[in-house]
Amino acid sequence: MKNQQIASSMAGTDWLFKMAWRDGKASGGRLVLFMASIILGITALVSIQSFSDNLKENIRLQSKSLMGADFIIDSRQLPNEKVQGIMDSLGGAEGMEVNFASMAAFPKNEGSKLVRVRGLEGNFPLYGDLETEPADAATSYISKGGALVDATVMLQFELQVGDTIKIGNASLPIAGTLISAPGNSAFASSVAPPVIVPYSLIDQTGLLQVGSRLDYNYYFVAPPDMDLDALDKELDPILDAENADLDTHTSGSRQLGRNYGNVGRFLNLVAFIALLLGCVGIASSVQIYIKEKLRSVAVLKCMGASRKQTFLIYLIQIGSMGFLGGVIGTIGGILLQLTFPGILQEFLPFEVQLSLSIQPIIMGLLLGVLMSVLFALLPLISTWYVSPLQVLRIQETPEERPRKARALVFIAILIFVFLFSLWLLEDLSYATGFVISIAVTFSILAGVATLFMKGIKRFFPAKWSFTSRQSLLNLFRPNNQTMVLLIAIGVGAFLISTLYFTKDMLLAMAQLDSSTNSPNIILLDVQSEQNGEVAESITHKGLPVLDNIPIVTMRMHTIKGRDANELRQDTTLTMNKWVLNHEFRVTYRDTLISSETLTEGEWIPEIPKEGPIPISIADNIARDAELAVGDTVIFNVQGVLMETVIGNIRAVDWARMQPNFNVVFPTGVLENAPQFQVITTNAPNAEASARLQRELVQKFPNISVLDLRQIVTLIENILDKIAWVINFMAFFSILTGIIVLIGAVRTSKYQRIKESVLLRTLGATSRQILQITALEYFYLGLLGSGIGIILSLISSQLLASFVFKAPFVPSLVPFLVLLPGVTLLVLLIGLGNSRSVLNSSPLEVLRKEGL
């Protein structure tokens, strides 16, 4: 007669946790390795997400000091009466600025450089500071009639305060070093560093001429209760019609936030890939872990545990490890982001103040639990179907997990990956594209790895030495994780190689043609009356005049019979409105140039005797303005209206480093219009380029000189920096692969010990055992990184052929550095974790195994 109290219900949740703990503490090492697989991915994600949030918040808080005002009205010309009236109605501008690109000369060492001249007047900046050295130069430069010169220029030309800078016709003393100022953009400052001068001295420079690209900015302080978004909405269309524009600090900061956000999203994806790899590692490790637990599950079911209880015990273990992994990864991510301001300093417009952001922390914790449970679910559900009969010695066909359950788990994983990608990217098509790409990449890697393995089995090298053959066979041992390791290492190698190949492709596209017939120096803003003299200066130096291109500025007045103003007001308009506000720089000629290909219509070299003027437009303009051959456009050519008809549409290779044009007129139309020239030449080396620039800056201070070699170097530097950041993130994938490898080695440790012991009992030497172990990891590393690099080579070639349409010459770095590097790393880690295998005493093991 039973006399104990039996609870009305079976053991509760506390028993499940108790059992999970009891069983888990004996398997602590294995579970810690599961956890480690996802830590790196979570660290990367949390760090990027947290930093992005901080950056957005900093931009929002500092938006006023980034702009230097509450809002700006800007225009490419002095404001007309209407715009002035609007500005007056807003209380008048507190400060104003004119800025333009120009060559600056430094008589001290005869140096010259393309700079961005900012002529300031009034109260600027209204928020934030001009940071200068010495500090008082920020205010004294006005009274001293001096210039504030960007710090990089000061360094490059070894300039001191007091030295002279010549801008146009004006020679000004350098009043101080400009360290930072509102309104400076990082990339633009790299191409043309800023020089600040008093607005009153601009006329002295003589640089405000026809064709000069000028920007006039008027800075305003808004009353505290002003709704800036409403103001923007109300005034922007009116100002657009007058060729002006309104930008508020909020819209400016939103745009800046979006730009940085896009970079953050890309890096997040790279980090997410590392996390996915970790989860694949978890799935594989848990599979083996659970397989070893199935006997215990059967025993528990014999004792009376239900399917749900046995399933939950191991679910709790995995979930707990996932949560711990999430905690550690989140802490790691928060600490890692502390390094980002230093690493990304050159890309950021201000100093970022870091604070704890809640959302990434919650994301890190949730991801840890969700992803480890999701990816462990497939092996976990096998506990559901274990029959208690397994404790008896009955041999029957092993129970197969229903396909429905497996399919449901796969679908759940895909849905989660999709939803998380959607949350990261905030775009449905990008998220879909990412998930498909991931699925395809992993599938291809798995497929190629499978083919390799099958190939090795089929064409097994029977003539190889014993150790080489045995190590190959070890890749196929029961419970091997060869496939998972190949995928983990392969994805990391694939990511990093693709980065190198793509970077080289982009650089190759930016490379200059080395022949003397290709321009590497472009002279801008050459006035008509200077044309002859400039050309003579060039030829006098033994350099060729390759192009002498006339430029006429004009705007679209009507499109297909509709007035530009009317089109601006039309809220149902589908065309891209930038064409309505843009000042086109147009040229005229009778031939196509090498970067152009006719796609529609007929090339008309000269104006016909009657009818509207047939013009040629680039395909992007045709797309944006919704224009086709035969459509009419009336241009306002500096006050004169010209009726034109679209004669043809061209495809333009904008990546070519030469002057390209959206609109080209035939000859015989614009020859007498107010115009300026763009002249190109080829200098054989940097000295010849410098000599030419010195002379031109002295004789023709209004001309801007673009040395394309310097631009290419700049692009190279930027691409290098971007590549470094992406490499840093992609390396997380490699590291995750390493952790998965360590997990795999540990998991199979006892099996390897048994094998090693048996071999030694049969007479194998320690050296042979070491060789077998070493070769096994060598094959893994070589195969994994090799597959990843080869796949990357193929996909990069496809990118080059179909997307960039450029030749592809693969970088050697993946082959010479990545392949041997990863192989060596895998070898060292494998050997390092196999010491107990190599050192176990045979007798001890045989006794333990009861052999």
């Binding site: 104990q4 009305s8 079976m10 028993w15 004792m303 009376g304 749900k308 029959s387 009955i394």
Partner: protein, 229 residues
């Protein structure tokens, strides 16, 4: 005396590759409460399968099994688990202790599944009875075969089962250790008043029970009492 186990026209077929193997064919017998019962037969006779079905570890393909007044056929897997926890104890040839739990924890599991509050205390009492109280915190890997089987004995009796199934309890033990374990088994069984069903190929062990059921080729050849009047 009431019947604790009633088996009628029991049949079971397993698939082996593409072949179907009829392991049990029209098996019928009864066991009275409190009896000791042995199932013997050569290897492949179906005795282990029969034990498994009687214990509710699987469902028969034909016939029915009534255990402790409940028809097992009609129960779901979870319902059978509940029945096992309340009414059945197990002893296996290879001990089947949970390797990650200590001896005490292994013995506690059936009690904890019942939601018993002082499971550890009761488990310790049982370990004392089998002479392993001082090894309560040792893991199975730290115990010898005989010690492991004694822990398994303690576990089997912990939930005070109505019926205890033992599958070759001495199969992995040497003769001396096996004898000790068998002696302990019968002592505990007598003390608890449990019905005992032993699967064995050891005829000497079988002779110590009250009834012997012989199986061959999945069919009963003899079913007789060993008690001489």
């Amino acid at each position: 005396m009431s019947k604790i186990l009633n088996v009628d026209q029991l049949g079971k077929t397993y698939s082996s590759g593409s072949k179907k193997l009829k392991v049990l064919d029209a098996i019928s017998f009864e066991i009275e409460q409190g009896d000791t019962f042995a199932i013997v037969g050569p290897s492949g006779s179906g005795k282990t399968t029969l034990l498994g079905l009687c214990a509710g570890l699987d469902k028969p393909d034909s016939g029915y099994i009534e255990l402790c007044g409940t028809r097992i056929n009609e129960l779901s897997e979870d319902q059978r688990a509940l029945l096992r926890n309340r009414e059945v104890g197990f002893i296996f040839q290879d001990f089947q202790l949970l390797p990650t739990l200590t001896a005490l924890e292994n013995v506690s599991v059936p009690l904890e599944l019942q939601g018993v509050k002082d499971a550890s205390k009761q488990a310790m009492e049982l370990l004392k009875k089998v002479g392993l109280a001082d090894r309560s915190h040792h893991y199975p890997s730290q115990l010898s075969g005989g010690e492991q089987q004694r822990v398994a004995l303690a576990r089997a009796f912990s939930n005070r089962p109505s019926i205890l199934f033992a599958d070759e309890p001495t199969g992995n033990l040497d003769e001396e250790t096996g004898e000790k374990v068998v002696k302990l088994l019968f002592e505990l069984n007598k003390e608890a008043g449990t019905t005992l069903v032993i699967v064995t190929h050891d005829l000497d062990l079988a002779q110590r029970t009250q009834h012997i059921l012989r199986l061959k080729g999945g069919k009963i050849t003899t079913n007789k009492s060993t008690v001489t009047s």
